[in-house]
């Protein structure tokens, strides 16, 4: 007998709120009554009465109880979920492997990145007063633009600051130097000791420097006493107690007594002194002199640290510094009428910011960089994103296989939330597995990372700070959760009726999957392009014509004792045919030029002040030859001309250009630098004295001592050349070992950071591509499996191998093309920003992008081809057997 169902909406509403035990028969009653009314009063009234009935049934006795399940012990379910989840992982070993391994890789990277960032961020924070410690820096400006910002300042500044400002609780100065150490009662050879710092005793009050031997209250008080770091003490004195022992600095033949030993500075400090010498030693006029300490405002060589009273605002203090500088320094500058604060200012830098944010011109040691941290952090997130997307894609694709199970569970009475929970558990199981595998892989990645960054990271950092470890684990779980939500919802949404009928249903929305694949490949492309650009720039920098020749040139510091006998030394060296040229200078190519003085130049009849900074390099007669630097006009310094070593100047082309002359016009013009008035005898062709990060600035050269560095060009075999130099050195300077650098190695070091970035990008792009391809592989495998029958039929109907492969591959290829379209503009923008850092750079070349895009396509094709070709080659008999 036919029956009509009452209005759906209210019926659903009723089903929703009604207690399960009552729902069936009350519903039956409702339907029966409804049908009776239909015949009696007609449809509309019957509907109305039905609605009223439903509404009136909404009462306490009939509404379902809030808590749906009264289960108290869920444990059995969890066990079952675990078992089923584990089995399902095993059943599809291929996918599971791809999923877990991809995730593990990403998590391992994440772990390493977290370790790295943690290590970088905690620099200098271990001092108990770290938040209150500041460093004084000084900048120099011309025409309003800062052209030098030094980390060290002049000696009078520290104590005067403390005097003037009561917010400064304490100050301490240090000054770096090096010793040539010899131990009197040991017949050891002398050895170079660098990282020697003169330090005021208050340093121990400001910083936490635990002492192994000695009394912190008096250790740095007396002149000619010093403290050694633990490892330095071991180096010189072995296991013996170092306190009380004597050592001699052969640079000036002064004897020092060891007054204590301090614990080695930890890695996370911006400076690592090995010897701390009592500051009062500097009062000795043969070393520096008290007068100098109090009045020399030009010698910016002193690191000055301040301890501020708690709760005080450093910015407020900084605004008062210009006045401070005018007050004390002004007296020296009075004659020129220009107040010093117009061209030099003091700044205060927070100690904890030094490592990541300070990139000033004379840092004690190379610092890290906050942008590296950001970059690595972002890359890490991207990699994890890619892996998560893989996970989502693969899980959703496989969902169809779990459809039957899901349908059955629903039939037996599972709520949708239970199903969701079950699949979430499974995905978290996968993630936890991946996490542990990641832990196993991490040490290997760490090995590489440590090598790369020069640090010593290891996983025990997690043990020392359990919070970090727990966060990492929690984070991994979170990834599992987020990645697993979508597939869980997809699987639990299947309608049991459709599933059990045998129809595996649609694949769900292919849209999401496509979006994920496109994102993965876009990210990989961007990183890949970045790698190519960085390497291209590096290549460019290595092959560009620098304007001089640095091959086989050796540089070494000139010891004091060699200065008077230099000519004889040079002759001896040149006696060997392997030595082509020897010269001296105050700077060598690849240094940072920080020596600058005022200049005046001939304009019409008088001398006018030059309003831009011309930095100076002192060179000798042979410098241009040694480096094969060319002249643009005029002549170089010559021994034959008497005034060449006092009144002659050479400018580089940039300087001449800025002065408004042509190269020829500049010759014979009067030029005054500092207090010495002379003439321009030659113009040097521009060459890159500094790194390619900088524009070639205006430079002046003159041949007056003091020269600090000797450059020796070796003509023939390098080993022989060095052996000869060493022999001659021993004759002239027996008390010192011969220590030298290769200029071209130094040069490469200028771009160390870029090289590292390049390697980093290469690694990560490789990783990203690997993970993305893993995902692509999994997806292709799956989709070909889905279409096994279709392929079989096509083959039977006559499709060739090519046709089938093309069909399978077409879709993915389209996606990759889209990735290209997205990635190119993004990468172009980013790379532009990066390249701006170089004054001399490659253009943002198109072929790089094409290359990267093609490579990506090729890789993707290869990845897909395995499965596609295999599928296309299967015998249709096998695929259609079961029809």
């Amino acid at each position: 007998m036919k029956y009509i169902i009452p209005p759906r909406l209210f019926l659903r509403f009723f089903r929703w709120y009604c207690h399960p035990k009552l729902v069936d028969h009350i519903e039956g009653d409702l339907i029966e009554v409804y049908n009776q009314r239909l015949t009696r009063i007609g449809k509309r009234k019957a509907n109305l009465k039905f609605a009223i009935d439903v509404l009136l049934l909404f009462r306490p006795g009939i509404i379902r109880p809030r808590k749906r399940q009264q289960n108290i012990n869920q444990f059995g379910m969890y066990q079952s979920y675990f078992k089923v989840g584990w089995r399902s992982l095993l059943k599809a070993k291929g996918y599971s492997f791809v999923n877990i391994f991809g995730l593990a890789l990403a998590i391992a990277c994440g772990l390493v990145i977290v370790l790295f960032i943690h290590a970088e961020v905690k620099y200098d924070r271990y001092h108990s007063k770290a938040e209150r410690i500041y460093r004084v820096t000084r900048d120099f400006r011309s025409e309003g633009v800062v052209n030098m910002h030094l980390v060290q300042v002049a000696p009078p500044i520290g104590p005067l600051l403390k005097n003037d400002f009561r917010e400064i609780e304490e100050q301490a100065r240090t000054r770096r130097t090096n010793f040539l150490v010899s131990i009197p009662d040991k017949s050891k050879e002398s050895s170079y000791q660098n990282n020697v710092f003169y330090a005021e005793p208050q340093l121990l009050d400001i910083f936490d420097i635990p002492l192994k031997e000695g009394n912190p209250k008096i250790a740095l008080n007396n002149p000619f006493t010093l403290m050694l770091s633990k490892r330095t003490a071991e180096k010189y004195f072995g296991a013996e107690r170092a306190s009380g022992k004597m050592l001699v600095d052969l640079n000036n033949n002064k004897t020092y007594e060891v007054s204590g030993v301090f614990e080695d500075f930890p890695v996370e400090s911006h400076w690592h002194p090995e010897v701390l010498v009592a500051f009062s030693t500097l009062q000795d006029s043969t070393i520096y002199g008290r007068h100098n300490l109090e009045t020399n405002w030009g010698n910016n060589a002193f690191n000055t640290y301040l301890l501020i009273t708690p709760g005080f605002n450093a910015n407020a203090l900084e605004t008062q510094l210009p006045k401070f500088i005018d007050k004390y320094f002004g007296q020296y500058e009075a004659p020129s009428g220009v107040m010093p604060s117009t061209w030099t200012t003091l700044h205060m830098q927070k100690l904890t910011n030094i490592h990541l944010y300070s990139q000033l011109d004379s840092e004690i040691e190379g610092n890290g960089n906050i942008s590296t941290i950001y970059m690595i952090g972002v890359i890490g997130i991207f990699i994890i994103l890619i892996a998560s997307f893989n996970f989502i894609n693969l899980s959703t694709a496989r969902a169809v296989r779990r459809a039957k199970e899901a349908g059955l569970r629903k039939v037996v009475g599972a709520y949708r939330s239970q199903l969701v929970f079950q699949y979430l558990c499974e995905s978290m199981l996968t993630t936890i597995l991946a996490f542990f595998i990641a832990l196993a892989i991490s040490p290997f990645i760490l090995l590489w990372a440590n090598d790369f960054t020069g640090k010593q990271l290891d996983l025990t950092a997690f043990l020392s700070n359990p919070l970090v470890g727990v966060t990492a684990f929690g984070f991994a779980l979170l990834i599992g959760l987020l990645s697993g939500i979508y597939p869980a919802f997809v699987i639990s949404a299947f309608k049991p009726s459709i599933i059990l009928k045998g129809d595996t249903g649609t694949q769900g929305k292919g849209m999401l999957r496509k979006i994920l694949v496109v994102t993965q490949f876009s990210i990989s492309l961007v990183i890949g392009i970045a790698t190519l650009v960085v390497y291209r720039q590096l290549h460019f920098m290595n092959t560009i014509d620098l304007g001089y020749n640095k091959d086989q040139v050796v540089g070494t510091d000139i010891p004091n004792s060699l200065h008077e006998r230099y000519d004889a030394f040079q002759n001896e060296l040149l006696k060997n045919s392997g030595i082509k040229s020897v010269s001296r200078s105050s700077y060598i190519p690849g240094s940072f030029l920080n020596s600058v003085n005022g200049a005046k130049v001939e304009r019409g009849d008088s001398l006018a002040h030059v309003d831009f900074a011309i930095r100076n390099v002192r060179i000798d007669f042979d410098f241009l030859d040694t480096y094969e630097i060319k002249l643009a006009a005029g002549r170089s310094f010559s021994r034959d001309i008497k005034t060449d070593d006092s009144l002659a100047y050479m400018l580089n082309e940039s300087a001449v250009r800025k002065l408004g002359w042509s190269n020829e016009e500049a010759i014979d013009k009067t030029f005054q630098y500092g207090d010495v008035k002379g003439k321009i005898i030659g113009v040097v062709k521009d060459f890159h004295m500094e790194s390619l990060h900088e524009e070639i600035g205006p430079l002046v050269f003159f041949a007056r001592p003091y020269y600090g560095i000797m450059s020796i060009k070796i003509g023939g075999d390098i080993q022989e050349g060095i052996a000869h130099i060493e022999k001659v050195w021993k004759d002239f300077v027996p008390e010192r070992p011969f220590v030298f650098d290769f200029i071209d190695v130094r040069y490469e070091w200028l771009y160390n950071r870029e090289e590292k970035q390049g390697k980093l990008f290469a690694f990560f792009s490789g990783l990203a591509i690997l993970i993305a391809c893993l995902g692509l592989f999994g997806l292709t495998t799956f989709s070909t499996l889905q279409r096994v029958k279709e392929i079989g039929i096509r083959k039977v109907l006559g499709a060739s191998l090519q046709n089938i492969v093309r069909m399978l591959v077409k879709e993915m290829l389209g996606l990759i093309l889209i990735s290209n379209i997205i990635a190119w503009p993004l990468a172009w923008f980013l790379m532009n920003r990066w390249l701006e850092r170089f004054a001399y750079r490659i253009g943002n070349e198109l072929w790089i992008y094409l290359c990267a895009g093609l490579a990506m396509v090729a890789i993707a094709l290869i990845t897909m081809s395995f499965q596609s070709v295999k599928a296309a080659l299967t015998n249709p008999v096998n695929s259609l057997k079961h029809e």
């Binding site: 409702l30 009554v33 306490p60």
Partner: protein, 111 residues
């Protein structure tokens, strides 16, 4: 003597169930009450009463066949229990006692 909590409507429902004997299920009960007492019975009130009566133990239920009319859903048949019988008897007896106790004059009223 136990007190039997029995509302007015609930009492009617129990009585109707007893009347219908083996035919007492939701719709039948509703129709019976509506016919005999000429009052409208909402499904909500009735089913709530049924649930409460069953909870109190005055009636018991068993499921029957589903019919086409009900789109296959089973009917739930109700029967009065011994406890329920006691309850309605108590009710009837107390009513009767009250009636007998009324003096003649009280009910001597002109309409």
């Amino acid at each position: 003597m136990k007190k039997y909590q029995l509302g007015e409507f609930e009492e009617i429902v129990i009585l109707t169930i007893a009347v219908l004997y083996k035919e007492a299920y939701g719709v039948a009960i509703k129709n019976e009450i509506e016919t005999r007492l000429s009052r409208n019975v909402s499904m909500g009130a009735m089913h709530t009463a049924l649930v409460r009566l069953e909870d109190k133990g005055y009636i018991k239920s068993h499921d029957g066949e589903g019919t086409d009319e009900r789109a296959g859903r089973p009917k739930k048949y109700f029967q009065i229990t011994a406890l329920g019988k006691k309850a309605i008897e108590y009710s009837r007896d107390t009513r009767n006692d009250l009636w007998r106790a009324i003096p003649k004059m009280a009910l001597d009223l002109k309409v």
